[in-house]
């Protein structure tokens, strides 16, 4: 095993090579594309961008009272301060090398970094399975109202009735849109929601003395599904897909038995297809005494058009950062409430909000009589409140009618891409009917030596974020395109034009695709080197 490099090895200084336009610059900057050093290279431990009214040093443990300031701040009677600090002799005396910058330098540093990012605000972000939709700024404004953003999670309930009201109102929407009995709001992301659902199922099985050990997961599932089942203590077995890209019902039925605790199904699935036989799957699973977990990552395709509860689902997480527009933030934070069936509700985690005649109560550990069968707490506090306010603002903006239009337009956009590209890109399931909100292509038809990766990187040069690559695993060289409902026809037409052009180059074996991207802030990065000699922290 290679330990990460702690020797201070650094790659060579960039030579600012000529760009493809033949222009040489001495700074390495290229017009508006600016190189930005690390904060460790431009900051120092003597600079700060924050002013304090009083002491800049801490009194030592031996003698000398804490400096009570020069009168500009608190005047609580300083004569009662005992001598010395009260840190128990644990003062941090050594410098720990944390660089600081003044405010203008800080603003500039992060602004320059931000400009090296692609984002939804810059253009279409058709990353399949991720639902990169517009993040309305109203949501940001609402989440920052002091009555939400400046609340401590342990304030007395009488002082947070409006916050509990937000949780209750959002919960009502989620339950109504899914046709389920209730919802656990506290999970912190999609994968955490999966864990919540599986633990709820396990608690329900244990309550009836049933020690089932196996969870079945389709081959096309997100990686989080098998990882979650394993994390929750289950053995994982794959179930195959049909040639049509859907769960093989016969194979599933054959495998069901008294050892199977649950089946985890993604619907619509990761091939972008609706599981037509979902109800039959659920019935078979229930008949075998097991539960149906649905991965709700793709709920955006069906919101307002079919309710998972009607399909026999027992538990499903909802990624608020996908279907309900909370920002992805460069990889989180997410939020993953889990809707639950009647059979599972008694086992839902703590805490939860209960509505009474007098207002809202928060049911926690100290109220265990109110939730005797709950499987317990899975994180501190009460969930991703900052995401709840955003999601509720989004849902209220759309209403029941708008949400139905959301799924309609998302599916329309995906089918438009599918049909306009399937003559130049292989669509493995294109013949089986319409897709849902994602169009899936494979690399079949590409010339020898040209890969999905090359096509994706060429899209970068055309100014687009690529689609999801090499997922789902059941399709060779998969390209999963999810445009969302937030793209105009003009944007789609331009994206399609670029995608078709690159696809034709890939079929023709255009070698220059291996060089892409050439116009991004960086060329292809050496991931092998990064893993072989890990440099995971600044060592300068």
């Amino acid at each position: 095993m290679n330990a990460p490099n702690m020797s201070g090895w650094k790659p060579g200084t960039p030579q600012a090579p000529e760009g493809s336009d033949g222009v040489h610059t001495v700074t390495g900057n290229r017009g508006l594309m600016l190189e930005e050093p690390l904060v460790f290279e431009i900051g120092n431990t003597e600079t700060t961008g924050v002013d304090f009214p009083s002491p800049l040093t801490l009194a030592g443990g031996a003698g000398g009272g804490p400096d009570t300031g020069s009168g500009s701040t608190p005047t609580a009677d300083s004569s009662r301060v005992r001598e010395g600090n009260r840190l128990g002799g644990l003062d941090r005396s050594e410098s720990f090398g944390l660089p600081g910058l003044s405010e203008p330098e800080t603003v500039r540093h992060y602004t320059r970094l931000s400009r090296q990012n692609y984002a939804i605000d810059c253009g279409i972000f058709p990353l399949g399975s991720c639902t990169m939709k517009h993040n309305p700024r109203l949501n940001e404004k609402v989440a920052r109202m002091p009555g939400f953003s400046d609340l401590h999670p342990l304030q007395p309930e009488s002082t947070v009735q409006g916050a509990l009201g937000v949780i209750d109102e959002l919960a009502h929407w989620l339950v109504s849109l899914t046709g389920m009995a209730g919802v656990a709001m506290s999970p912190k992301a999609g994968a955490h929601g999966e864990l919540c659902g599986i633990l709820t199922i396990r608690a329900a099985l244990e309550a009836r003395g049933d020690a089932r050990q196996v969870i079945l997961v389709p081959e096309s599932a997100h990686g989080t599904n098998p990882a979650t089942a394993a994390f929750a203590g289950y053995a994982v077995e794959n179930i195959p897909a049909t040639a049509e890209g859907r769960v093989d019902l016969a194979a599933l039925e054959a495998r069901l038995g008294p050892d199977v605790a649950a089946v985890m199904i993604t619907n619509p699935n990761t091939c972008g297809l609706f599981e037509r036989e979902m109800k039959a799957i659920s019935d078979a699973v229930h008949a075998a005494g097991a539960f149906v977990y649905c991965d709700g990552a793709n709920f955006n395709a069906v919101v307002g058009r079919v309710r998972p509860g009607d399909l026999g689902v027992d538990a499903m997480h909802i990624n608020l950062h996908k279907t309900f527009s909370t920002p992805h933030g460069g990889g989180g934070p997410g939020s993953g409430p889990v809707v639950l069936s009647e059979a599972l509700m008694p086992f839902a985690p703590l805490p939860f909000v209960r509505k009474t005649d007098a207002g809202f109560d928060l049911i926690e550990e100290e109220d265990d009589a109110a939730a005797p069968q709950s499987f317990g707490r899975m994180a501190a506090f009460h969930g991703q409140m900052g995401m709840f306010t955003r999601a509720l603002a989004y849902i209220l903006s759309h209403g029941a009618d708008g949400l139905r239009q959301v799924s309609g337009d998302a599916v329309l956009n995906a089918n438009y891409i599918l049909r306009r590209c399937e003559d130049v890109l292989d669509a493995p399931f294109g013949a089986t009917g319409p897709c849902m909100h994602e169009a899936l292509f494979s690399d079949a038809g590409f010339a020898e030596g040209v890969a999905t990766l090359d096509l994706a990187k060429a899209l970068i040069d055309e100014g687009f974020h690529p689609m999801t690559m090499y997922f789902p695993l059941v399709v060779h060289g998969a390209m999963l395109v999810e445009p969302t409902e937030c793209e105009s026809k003009a944007t789609l037409d331009q994206f399609i034009m670029a995608l078709r052009s690159i696809a034709e180059r890939a079929r023709a074996g255009d070698e220059s695709l291996h060089q892409a991207p050439q116009l991004a802030p960086r060329r292809r990065l050496d991931e092998t080197l990064a893993a072989r000699r890990p440099v995971l922290a600044w060592e300068g």
Binding site: A3, P4, F40, N44, T48, P53, P55, L56, T57, A76, L90, D91, R92, L98, P99, H109, S114, R115, Q116, Y118, A119, D121, F125, H134, P146, G147, D150, Q155, V160, S176, G190, A191, T224, A227, L273, G304, H328, G329, G331, G332, P333, S335, E365, R377, A380, G383, Q384, L392, A393, L396, N415, Y416, R419, P434, E485, C486, E527, A530, L536, W538
Partner: protein
């Protein structure tokens, strides 16, 4: 509908290309008897931006914001002043609306930020390597316990009585399902931490000992001897930091020998937000443990032209590659909260963080002395940072409600966590940050006195 760009003309033209008569026809795979052909009844229809804002504002006004009251709550979530530029920068669309940096050529902004974040956290904690963040402190704590299990091949964890009770509950829930043993006892109201007693408990079965620093009662202790005891028995020491500002004044856990240091990063840049989203911090002292870490890691490399760049790396630990054999099922991190933390840390620098910590400690000392003068109230702690425990002559749960009735958010009652009637409910944990004024301290003292009279 203001978020939907397609016009009916566009829709008709696109359906024509697709060869479908209607959008409904695209849902032919949904069983007809379950398909909803009109909006779900009983739910409101779409609303204007102004109407939504009005509705949300009305809800927000039913809450008492921390800024509108003398405010002394901590116990795992801390109210600090966040410089205005932090919130401005995290709202740059290029950060806010980007995704996980799967295409590193066009995600260097997020990746370099994460590399800087990892470096800042590692230095703050006295560790070699930090990851790109977890959901929050409580889940990071459980991940540390499971990681210690992988490293030591032992499945027993001993938890300090001073560990945040929500973190304890989280660990107990997960341990029950995953077959870990948890050794934990409720805290006794003493001035000292239980570190010495924990050292005596470590045995050959112990995978890790978990301590919090400062702990739930605000106590701080030297964990060097405990680390030695753990290492002598082949166990790891996990240190949990719920108030990272403390490490501007206090020796880091890494310096004292903690092997895994995890924490809640909310105090810097993120804000209170009624409990989430927060920011899980996760770091290891020994770089050889990196491959057992959960979560995303950002690493340095070069591009095809030799220019320095950053990528997500060592992903063979993660669920999207390893599936059921991954080190964790975690997928997302808390990217935007990590950015807020990192920007705040950059603005502070070591000089500013030390000053901030000093200011917190100075005010906390003032408050502890003043509040201990209230008749019937005694301060438990001898050593503390910005939070301490007051022993009061009544159930502090009612006391907290009474104070809230008078417009004072006066602390967290331990009875909320330990409602067992063993005396712990007669104690109040009080946090004092730089946001507290002398007038606030006087107001709390007067209100306490009034409510206890």
């Amino acid at each position: 509908m203001r978020y939907l760009p397609l016009t009916d003309t566009d829709r008709a033209a696109m359906l024509d290309v697709i060869g479908a008569p209607s959008i409904d026809a695209l849902f032919a795979d949904v069983p007809a008897d379950l398909y909803l052909d009109k909006p779900i009844e009983g739910l409101p229809l779409h609303a204007s931006e102004m109407a939504v804002e009005r509705h949300m504002r009305a809800l927000s006004k039913q809450n008492l914001a921390a800024a509108d009251a003398p405010f002394f709550l901590g116990a795992g979530a801390y109210r600090h002043h966040v410089p205005a530029s932090v919130d401005h920068l995290i709202q740059r669309g290029e950060f806010l609306t980007a995704y996980t940096p799967y295409q590193p050529e066009i995600a260097q902004g997020t990746l370099q930020m994460l590399f800087e974040f990892q470096s800042q956290v590692a230095r703050l904690f006295g560790c070699a390597v930090a990851n790109a963040s977890m959901y929050d402190g409580s889940t990071a704590c459980w991940e540390a316990i499971t990681m210690a299990g992988r490293v030591t091949k032992r499945r027993k964890a001993i938890l300090s009585c001073g560990l945040h009770p929500h973190y304890v509950s989280t660990a107990q829930t997960m341990a029950r399902f995953e077959g870990h043993g948890i050794d934990y006892a409720l805290p006794t109201l003493t001035a000292e931490t239980d570190f010495a007693a924990l050292a005596d408990k470590v045995d050959g079965e112990t995978g890790c000992v978990v301590v919090q620093y400062p702990d739930i009662l605000g106590r701080i202790g030297d964990m060097t001897a405990l680390a030695d005891a753990c290492h002598a028995a082949g166990a790891l020491l996990v240190a949990v930091v719920t108030e990272p500002v403390a490490l501007g004044a206090l020796k880091s856990p890494g310096e004292m020998g903690a092997d895994i240091v995890v924490g809640e990063g909310q105090a810097l840049g993120v804000g209170l937000q009624f409990g989430g989203p927060y920011l899980g911090l996760f770091a290891v002292r020994d770089p050889r443990h990196v491959r057992q870490m959960p979560g995303r890691l950002c690493g340095e490399t070069v591009d095809a032209e030799g220019k320095r760049g950053f990528v997500l790396t060592l992903s063979t630990r993660e669920q999207h590659i390893r599936r059921e054999k991954a080190t964790s099922n975690i997928c997302t991190n808390a990217g935007l909260c990590a950015l807020a933390f990192s920007v705040h840390m950059t603005l502070l620098g070591e000089k500013g963080l030390r000053a901030l910590a000093a200011e917190n400690h100075r005010l906390a000392c003032l408050a502890a002395d003043r509040l201990a003068q209230v008749p019937g109230v005694t301060a438990l702690n001898e050593a503390f940072f910005n939070e301490f425990t007051l022993v009061v002559p009544c159930d502090a749960r009612q006391l907290v409600r009474d104070m809230a009735g008078k417009g004072v958010l006066g602390g967290v009652s331990l009875g909320k966590f330990y409602p067992d009637g063993q005396g712990r409910e007669n104690s109040l944990v009080v946090a004092v940050t730089e946001t507290v004024t002398a007038e606030d301290i006087e107001c709390l003292a007067a209100t306490l006195q009034e409510c206890l009279a």
